[in-house]
Symmetry: C2
Subunit: 337 residues, 2 copies
DNA sequence: TTGAAAGCGCTAACAG
DNA sequence: CTGTTAGCGCTTTCAA
């Protein structure tokens, strides 16, 4: 049984006693500024050994309370259920650690209230920066941070009150749409306008992608079908429902589609699989997002892969510079295979 | 410009002064035990209002230093790059919050040294429990926790020194193998032994899955091909290499395959796509793991979906009971579509 | 009903 | 080279 009752933890005072020295010596040795204090390497070694033997771990709560900077950096993220956000948090952790920062991450399930609560909790933990990823109301979070004297950054979805680092949605969507239109021409002999599906019309990214979508059609001289722009939300079910409704009312669905995320793509593919409309000719899809299995498992799906390392490098540049201009927008081009 | 220099943060002393009362009253009001102290609701209201106005947030470092329990629960996880781990962290966060615990998560990139370092860092933050998910050396982590008087749990991959909650790998693999063998019979007219690919022979889960794999063959009277069991590691490239090597030396690869994870499946699918061997008849696959796109995008792939909510419910039951027997193994059956 | 005061474990002057 | 000391912001007796 490891019915280990939370026994009293070893402190620097315990170590000091064991080493026959003072707590401050122990503290200095254990956090590396012992040359500055010119402590004998003998003592240093002894203290280090004893600390090891006792399995000592500093109490961060106490340490941080005393220091002026926490070196904690927070991130809130909507979900962990797709490669894009997964890659964001993984890269964030790696880059934070590489800079001596301690990353804390929390997911908000796209719930606006949870978002605010999560931001407040992060502030309680004294984060030095808060990065709001894909937040529904980034400006509200920035306000809260500002009031607490904490700096913040928006990622993926922009706000107006803090620097925002996002994909270049317009240019990315324009290129993706172009590629998809050309695929349609090659596969079915003629160009035809695409269906746009997924995302919220109210969010900046979707609006910009629709703009790029339009522009690409214009570039290639293909007329747009206005009622074929369905910003029906991101959830898979929403996309499936929208397609159902269109099939019911129009009797068909365009063969070429611009799908606004892998999340929406899940619903699109599910619906396509369940419908006889594409039995003869498979759909031709462009997806603004990337997933390895989508790339590997059949179908003709072109993807725009958002440049996560690029975005986070930009974010950490700002963190390290310590600046953060109001509402500045940094756009990182997505990558094509 | 939000060149917000980390201004001095508001403390309960500031609030006390503004409210014309004492810090202890503020503290009591702000953390809800003010009826116990019979503070007038008038004062309580006033304090709450002022706190709100000032955008006050408690300093957790100070609060936790004083309290005896941190109510922080830690989890280490190898990667965020697949649905299984993504779902684990998401569910973990939700369940932790529902129980009034603050979850902190860190990923270790399957790096044994990072694993240990991450565990130590978690201890520094005074976590009350540490859940090691898919750790390469869970017992080492348990030892470190034990020395610090912290309780720990293993998830996904078992250890011998703390309770482990894992999938029922043997039964799951047996069922998955059976289903895949039957698929092979239906698709190609006759049963034939499957190829086992992915995972490390040294890890408990892979060993158990291989045992289930053997048992299912035996159940159905199909002989095993010993050299068709390739525990070549999880990484996609490893799986692809192993298939290449087999194709080179034997000139063919079995049509039916048991793939040990979606991670390995990525490599398997990539190789299959690049090889002419399956141009005529597509592979028939059983995958021990689940991914929505694999389910949707063509091919005949049977999946065993690990029961993440079931596993985490078991974990939190133990956390709430406060127990944690050495080396006890709790096996949760995976789900089939 | 409320306030004063001690102290959680650690760091950083400062004094030897 | 090393130890003493004064807090960091908060919670929690205890006394009023």
């Amino acid at each position: 049984m490891n019915q280990q009752r939370p026994q009293k933890k070893t402190t620097i005072y315990d170590l000091a006693e064991l080493a026959g020295t003072s707590a401050s010596a122990v503290s200095a040795v254990l956090n590396g500024n012992w040359k500055k204090r010119r402590i004998s390497s003998q003592l240093a070694e002894k203290i280090t050994r004893i600390a090891e033997e006792q399995g000592y771990a500093v109490n961060m709560q106490a340490s941080l309370l005393r220091r002026e900077k926490s070196r904690i950096i927070g991130m809130i993220v909507p979900k962990y259920d797709n490669r894009y956000f997964g890659s964001i948090v993984e890269t964030f952790e790696i880059m934070a650690r590489a800079r001596g920062l301690f990353p804390i991450i929390t997911c908000t399930l796209r719930d606006p209230d949870l978002e605010i609560e999560a931001a407040r909790t992060m502030l309680s933990y004294q984060v030095e920066w808060l990065i709001s990823t894909g937040a529904t109301d980034p400006d509200r979070i920035t306000d809260i941070c500002l009031a607490a004297g904490t700096r913040s950054l928006n990622l993926d979805l922009p706000g107006t009150k803090a620097t925002s680092i996002i994909s270049d949605n317009f240019a990315g969507a324009r290129e993706l749409t172009k590629r998809t239109l050309i695929n349609v021409e090659q596969k079915s002999g003629a160009m035809a306008p695409l269906l746009f599906i997924g995302g919220r019309g109210s969010d900046h990214n979707t609006a910009e992608r629709i703009r790029g979508f339009r522009m690409a059609h214009q570039d290639l001289g293909v007329p747009i079908e206005e009622h074929h722009i369905l910003a029906c939300g991101y959830a898979p079910e929403k996309a499936a429902q929208a397609l159902s409704a269109m099939a019911a009312s129009e009797g068909s669905v365009p063969r070429g589609m611009f799908v606004n995320s892998t999340i929406s793509l899940e619903g699109v593919m599910r619906w396509i699989k369940s419908s006889p409309l594409f039995d003869a000719a498979p759909p031709i899809i462009g997806c603004f997002d990337w997933d390895p299995f989508v790339a590997l498992l059949g179908h003709d799906i072109e993807m725009a892969r958002q440049d996560v390392p690029g975005m986070l490098t930009a974010a950490f540049d700002i963190v390290e510079k310590g600046s953060g201009d109001t509402g500045k927008l940094i756009e990182i081009p997505p990558l094509f295979a």
